[in-house]
């Protein structure tokens, strides 16, 4: 089971992920996220809230990497927050926390993108 909710904000997109971001769901996530970038038509940031994300595999990492690379040329950031358990471990092992900002809380994530 995987669900994503995208809320349009002035600074970009506030995205909540729920369930499993795996080889089955990652292509859908990537498609929707890239469509959101294209629809924005200007520099945007993405906050990815993992509070309800139970699982992520390398397929999920790949889709996040595609999103981050797409945003980077215009200065857009992908900020991660709400990580715990195996999701936090996977992000750590892959070193994604070395090139993506990781916020300790949702509030911190919103500050990083200049929302508050």
């Amino acid at each position: 089971m995987f669900e994503m909710k995208i809320v349009v904000e002035s600074w970009g997109r506030d995205v909540s992920l729920t369930g499993r971001l795996d080889a089955g769901s990652a292509p859908d996530f990537e498609k929707e996220a890239i469509a959101a970038v294209d629809a924005a038509g200007e520099s945007v940031h993405f906050v990815l809230d993992f509070t309800n994300l139970e699982y992520i595999s390398s397929a999920g990492l790949r889709s996040i990497l595609v999103l981050a690379k797409r945003l980077a040329p215009s200065g857009g950031k992908v900020v991660l927050c709400g990580m715990s358990g195996v999701v936090e471990e996977v992000i750590g092992v892959s070193g994604f926390d070395s090139f993506l900002p990781v916020a300790g809380s949702r509030g911190d994530a919103l500050r990083i993108v200049g929302a508050v």
Binding site: A59, L61, R62
Partner: protein, 142 residues
């Protein structure tokens, strides 16, 4: 508890990922015998290995994938057997996970996760078969 081995052969297709997971994690009792954190590690390892085999092992997919689950008092082990192209994923160089965004690609991350999350990973070529065996050690009972 004595050692037991259970084996099942599936089509090597990503459509069967749910079936692989259920066979290893539920029917074979990983969820009962291992702490939740280790079950989650096994969950990741299963997906990474199955995705690799289903995507790359066969020139004319889908081939077959046999899964052997070996339970002993000391460990929960899973062996993945395919008769596709000979390939040892442990020989591939590990990605440099300290590189910046612009120099990163997603290659090699799956097997890296398997290596870091399993207690042991072994590859061997058995005749015409690739064997990849992963082991999670069982916590000692008090």
């Amino acid at each position: 508890m004595e050692s037991t081995v259970r084996e099942r052969t599936f089509p090597a297709s990503l459509d069967c990922l749910g079936g692989f997971r259920a066979f290893i994690l539920e029917e074979n009792g990983a969820e009962e015998r291992l702490p939740p954190k280790r079950v989650a590690h096994l969950d990741v390892a299963i997906e990474e290995i199955v995705v690799n085999i289903c995507s790359y092992a066969y020139e004319n997919p889908p081939g077959k994938l046999t899964i052997r689950v070996e339970e002993s008092p000391e460990a929960f082990a899973v062996e993945f057997l395919d008769n596709g192209v000979a390939f040892d994923p442990l020989e591939v160089d590990e990605p440099d996970v300290t590189r910046p965004l612009e120099e990163r690609d997603a290659g090699g991350l799956g097997i890296l996760l398997v290596r870091r999350m399993m207690d042991e990973v072994h590859y061997s070529r058995k005749g015409t078969l690739n064997s990849l065996r992963i082991v999670v050690k069982t916590p000692r009972e008090r």
